[in-house]
């Protein structure tokens, strides 16, 4: 898998299949062996250790992108599709590790696009501090006139040194040394990208959040007078386009991880329904259980179809709307699927041993990352069909 096709060429179908086979084996064997049984808490370094191994396999590109690694060339449909499938495969074993890989790959890609050098792992905090500034970000990106209120919201949304209020929350594992942020220029009129070293940030890891155990919810803020290590030399339009693309990759990544974890939930529930007896028969023969399994399967298939339809990175806000519209609908469906699968287990589903409650927590957590459905609805309502990138 290390021998990639290089920058210009799309991988052949065979190469892509080989990559997915490698990822599946890595997921089933190496990754599964790193994880404790479901009832035990996952330590924060698991995702970091898994990332090291994944880098050796080429799943995570560390040097030049090969076209076969995660988010190597998301602007190419082949790489975009491959990345979604890699994330889903990984998430079938661990949503947290899959999400961590996504964060590192997105960070690396964004740094490359921003022309920022450096080998040290970086994360990209693309979603800002407050739900895309309640739609103001979308209005801005689509070139609409902004009210004073919108400007105030945008100022608050992007991290800046010495800023008061709540910190930004970024979900990732450990092992990252740099963080890339979209930021407003000093005059507040232009988008820029700033790369900070971790030690220049206030970064507090909260390790026992609702889901995605094995990663932390990093509470990030920039101390007053802290300077970025580098600023990207991009025009305002280029910086905005990079944000647009990053938001789309983030949305696709969240969905791909959710699809993988839901597949695992449904598989477990189906297996359980063929083994567990209740009332003298297998529970899978009971219509009540068939209904639960059917609901989970219907929701999952619908979301898989929607995710499959996201094949091209958006050119403008109008196309980005599709990514977000699908997320607003799909993540609640995935949560419902996970909760139905848990219900098949009855009381055992609520106990940590079976791993079902963990998947439900992971899906709930993913639903709130990168914009909650309510925040997304505000964004979708904020821009019309005619909108394009600023």
């Amino acid at each position: 898998m290390d021998e990639g096709t290089g920058n210009g060429e799309a991988p052949s179908a065979n190469e892509a299949a080989l990559v997915l086979q490698t990822v599946a084996e890595f997921s089933r064997r190496s990754l599964a062996s790193l994880l404790p049984p479901p009832e035990k808490s996952i330590l924060l370094d698991v995702a970091f250790r898994a990332a090291r191994e994944a880098a050796e396999l080429g799943i995570l590109s560390t040097e030049e992108p090969t076209g076969l690694g995660l988010w190597d060339f998301p602007e190419r449909p082949d790489s975009f599709h491959l990345s979604k499938r890699i994330l889903s495969l990984l998430a079938e074993t661990s949503a947290a590790v899959s999400w961590h890989f996504h964060s590192l790959a997105l960070g690396r890609w964004a740094c490359r696009e921003a022309g920022l050098a450096g080998e040290e792992a970086a994360i990209a905090a693309v979603e800002g501090r407050c739900g895309f500034a309640r739609g103001a970000l979308f209005r801005w990106l689509s070139g609409q006139a902004l009210s004073e209120g919108d400007r105030a919201l945008l100022q608050e949304n992007f991290l800046s040194p010495g800023q008061g209020g709540a910190p930004a929350v970024v979900q990732a594992g450990t092992g990252w040394g740099r963080a890339l942020f979209p930021a407003l220029s000093r005059d507040g009129l232009r988008l820029e990208w700033h790369l900070y070293r971790r030690e220049k940030l206030s970064a507090e890891p909260v390790g026992d959040s609702h889901g995605l155990e094995g990663t932390a919810s990093w509470l990030l803020s920039i101390p007053a007078r802290s300077e970025p290590e580098e600023r990207a030399h991009l025009s305002g339009g280029e910086a905005a386009r990079l944000l647009l693309h990053a938001l789309a990759i983030q949305a696709a990544g969240l969905l791909a991880v959710g699809v993988g974890s839901t597949r695992a939930a449904l598989r477990s529930a189906r297996r359980y329904s063929t083994e567990r007896r209740q009332g003298g028969s297998l529970i899978g023969e009971l219509p009540a259980v068939q209904q639960l399994l059917g609901e989970a399967a219907a929701n999952l298939e619908a979301v898989e179809t929607l995710l499959e339809s996201l094949s091209v990175i958006p050119k403008d806000v109008r196309e980005l709307r599709r990514f977000f519209a699908i997320r607003a609908v799909a993540h609640p469906l995935l949560c419902q699927a996970a909760t139905s699968a848990l219900q098949v287990f009855g009381g055992y589903g609520y106990m940590r041993d079976y791993g079902m409650e963990k998947i439900l927590r992971d899906n709930q957590h993913l639903k709130l990352l990168g914009g909650t459905p309510a925040e997304i609805r505000l964004c979708l309502g904020a821009v019309g069909e005619e909108s394009h990138v600023a």
Binding site: E39, E127, C130, G131, A133, R134, G149, A152, L153, E156, G165, A166, V169, V206, D208, S209, H210, G211, S217, R276, R277, Q278, G279, G280, S281, A288, V289, L292, C335, T339, L342, Q343, G346, G347, G349, Y350, M351, R352, D353, E357, L360, R361, Q364, H365, K367, L368, L369, T372, P373, A374, E375, L378
Partner: protein
């Protein structure tokens, strides 16, 4: 400051100001009273129940709420003795009997038994779902003893425990029906028809020998006595008999306490009966009377489970409301934004609907199967939806542990499972209404 975008009470067009300009009889036809829905509902109750509701809320706010997050962080529950001692002194561990034997005023016991337990569980679980269950599980363990109809059983087992609880020396009971083969077989008639006994009792001179296991027993780790149900050896569920098993009995052991998604302050413990000798005097109710007793207990306990769900939802809603009033965005409080106001209103409406159904279901003297299952299913499903909404309102702070909304979601999810899954409970509604549906009732 008033909330933005809404008619402030001092605005000339607001309801209270508009009413001032109306003549008295018409003004009185529309009520405006600037108190919370909680207060409104409380005033609907009798003076004794009003006092009780305020008292339990105060207990939950001062004793349970400060311990909610620490008890949730502990893998195996909270340090329970201190909390149970406080609950005991408050009369919350002796409320299945009227004064002077228990803590309920005789009038409340006679006329509002169901309602008082709904009120209690809502208030406790608004402070903490897990700690509320810790206290409530004792009542569940005590119901079979009280419903046994045997004064001797009550005198020997319940009254000494109640006396100690009053004195702040917790002595709690647990209820043991669920077996490793699954809970649903022992929670409805259809499942029960093909139940294969896992826990059995064999008659011996002077008593019974109990063998088997029970799982997921709430409070099973701390209970000094358990009402455990077992089939008579060689017979089926129709032979189910309830035995009062005391902690010190030889062969009675506690197995593992489960690691749960939520309600972690209260354990779910495995109980192991290894040829435990149970004297004849410890049979609760009649031999072979256990199935009926169990069904009766479930009818009594499902309404309080609905109340647990309501309390948890209210706790999550209050956490989200507090967050939306505290945090500012774009120079305004979150609660000043219309979409947030819509969300808050939706949560208020849903919790109010839960309480309306619960109080209506609990208004009779004896619960019916359909009413108790409806209350349980509706409240638990709605509570999960309210908690999800509360989490979402907090944005990407919604998944942080320190915010009680995410704990509320984890706590609420259990209410869709225990006391019979919501699927089993839905079927119970139909089972109860079958004769009426098929035209067999004398209406």
């Amino acid at each position: 400051m008033w909330l933005e975008g809404l008619g402030a009470p001092d605005h000339p067009l607001s309801l209270p100001k508009s009413l001032e300009r109306l003549p008295r009889p018409i003004r009185d036809a529309v009520q405006y009273d600037p108190v919370s829905l909680w207060e409104h509902d409380t005033r609907l109750l009798s003076p004794a129940l009003q006092k009780y509701r305020r008292q339990v809320r105060h207990f939950a706010r001062t004793v349970l709420a400060p311990r909610a997050l620490p008890s949730d962080s502990n893998e195996h529950g909270a340090d329970t003795q201190e909390i149970l001692a406080a609950a005991g002194r408050e009369g919350l561990l002796s409320d299945l009997l009227p004064k002077p034997f228990g803590s309920l005023p005789p009038w409340v016991f006679a006329r509002a038994f169901q309602l008082v337990h709904s009120i209690k569980m809502e208030e406790l679980c608004a402070g903490c779902g897990g700690l509320g269950l810790l206290i409530g599980a004792h009542a569940l363990g005590t119901i079979p003893l009280v419903l046994s109809g045997s004064l001797s059983t009550i005198r020997r087992f319940v009254l000494p425990a109640y006396r100690e609880n009053f004195e702040g020396r917790p002595r709690v009971f647990a209820y043991g029906i669920t077996e490793p083969s699954g809970g649903s077989d022992v929670e409805d008639s259809h499942g029960g028809a093909s139940y294969r006994p896992f826990t059995t009792a064999r008659k011996v001179p002077g008593g019974w020998r109990l063998r088997g296991r029970k799982v997921f027993i709430s409070g099973g780790d701390i209970a000094l006595g358990v009402c455990a149900f077992a089939a008579i050896e060689g017979e089926g569920l129709e032979s189910w008999t309830c035995f009062y098993v005391e902690r010190q009995m030889e062969g009675f052991e506690r197995g593992r306490s489960e690691l749960k998604m939520g309600q972690r302050a209260s354990s779910a413990t495995e109980l192991i009966f290894d040829d435990v000798f149970i004297p004849d005097g410890n049979v609760v109710g009649k031999v072979r009377g256990g199935w009926g007793l169990n069904r009766t207990v479930l009818n009594y306990s499902r309404i309080p489970v609905g109340a647990i769900a309501l309390g948890i939802a209210r706790g999550a809603m209050e956490a989200a409301t507090g967050f939306s009033l505290k945090h500012r965005l774009g120079g305004k409080r979150l609660a000043d934004y219309q979409d947030v106001q819509l969300s808050l209103a939706q949560m208020m409406m849903e919790t109010q609907a839960m309480r309306a159904l619960l109080w209506q279901s609990a208004s009779g003297i004896a619960p019916t199967q359909a009413r108790s299952s409806m209350a349980k299913v509706f409240c638990s499903d709605t509570a999960v939806a309210v908690c999800e909404r509360a989490m979402e309102l907090l944005g990407n702070h919604g998944f942080l542990r320190g915010n009680l909304a995410e704990k509320g979601y984890r706590d609420a999810r259990l209410t869709q499972i225990y006391e019979g899954t919501n699927q089993i409970n839905r079927l119970s509604i139909l089972e109860d209404q079958m004769e009426a549906l098929l035209g067999n009732s004398k209406e």
